[in-house]
Symmetry: C2
């Protein structure tokens, strides 16, 4: 299958790239939507795509000015557990539908059959556009959005992040190159919701955490 | 209802604006996706939104380089009947899903409850993302894309363009300000598929066509 993958440069989408490329002809798209950790995240995505030997394109959506703590330079990034209600400040409105819609437009233009993203079970509490019902309705919409059906792949939708980390080792994903931290500093801060989630995933998976955390 | 409308500056979305604003708090978004007739179309949208007294914003998606005869400066715009198979060259891949997704993102950011677009029955043959099944699945996806449900409004989905022209008169829409022609010249060319469709709609509706056609 010829598949366009949304690659953020984080753990989940990186493992999905190495998972898919065993059987798919994959090309990757990343998005700059003004995320504060964009420089680090998109740098990681570029490096990972190059290592995987797949085509990669960064698309600029900064003109949309989507409002979120993630896209507002002076807003506080909530610290603490990733499933805390406070983490909802990091929701970027309709981010996944926008990214999937654009990825599908590009896939259609290139005659590709599928788009993929790495939503997983750990996202369900905070991110509405990672829930199974959203995936199902988007899958239906993508099947009918063009004269050629586009298949939506979200194979990690019921997996935990620990499952993904474990699988990452199996498929040889470069976990050390992935970037999660929402702060976007020199090193992972180790304190924001997504750093907590990353650390916990490695611990639960029993996989050595290759991340250098600040402090 | 607080509703975000996708306003192209054409006949259908202009009538929808005047239809909705009788009962909705409407704000409009238009998109520059590199359409050749963009200057004329977006100019029309601006003028119409100003006349309607509603907020209006043009969003730039030219960075996505969506491929179509409509976005390729040297490609031939197919002439003739708007339902001819040749008109499929004017499909912009996944345009409506992208526009709806972005409009919903903006609506969520502003606490609005609905997004609207003017797909109609005359589009079904050529544009896959105007078909009722697409509207239904997108409606489901939009209900679940955020913690607050977003309602998708496509009230013209079973109407003909003649129905829309007739209704335009009833709701006082400025039909003379609307722009349809894909060629984007000084005047409507009168020959491209969308000019054919426009002319036919006025004739069938028994509405005086206010358009000045070239030649």
């Amino acid at each position: 299958m010829r598949t366009t993958l949304i690659l953020s440069g984080g753990l989940d989408s990186t493992v999905l790239l190495f998972h898919l490329r065993r059987e798919h002809d994959v090309r990757c798209v990343s998005f700059n939507y003004g995320q504060r950790h964009g420089t680090r995240e998109l740098e990681a995505a570029r490096e990972i795509a190059m290592l995987a030997g797949v085509q990669h394109q960064v698309l600029d959506l900064t003109g949309l000015s989507l409002p979120s703590a993630l896209t507002t330079p002076d807003a506080a990034i909530p610290l603490g557990h990733y499933a805390d209600a406070s983490m909802k400040a990091t929701v970027v409105p309709n981010r996944n539908m926008i990214m999937l819609a654009v990825a599908a437009g590009i896939a259609i233009g290139e005659g590709r059959e599928a788009v993929a993203y790495a939503a997983h079970a750990g996202d369900h509490t905070i991110y509405p556009d990672c829930r199974p019902a959203f995936v199902d309705s988007m899958a239906a919409a993508l099947l009918g959005c063009d004269w050629q059906p586009i298949t939506l792949l979200a194979p990690f939708i019921t997996w935990t992040k620990a499952d993904i980390a474990r699988h990452g080792v199996e498929v040889g994903a470069p976990l050390d190159l992935t970037w999660s931290c929402y702060q976007g500093g020199e090193l992972h801060c180790g304190k924001c919701g997504t750093c907590h989630e990353r650390r916990e995933a490695f611990t639960v998976a029993g996989v050595v955490d290759p991340t250098r955390y600040a402090g």
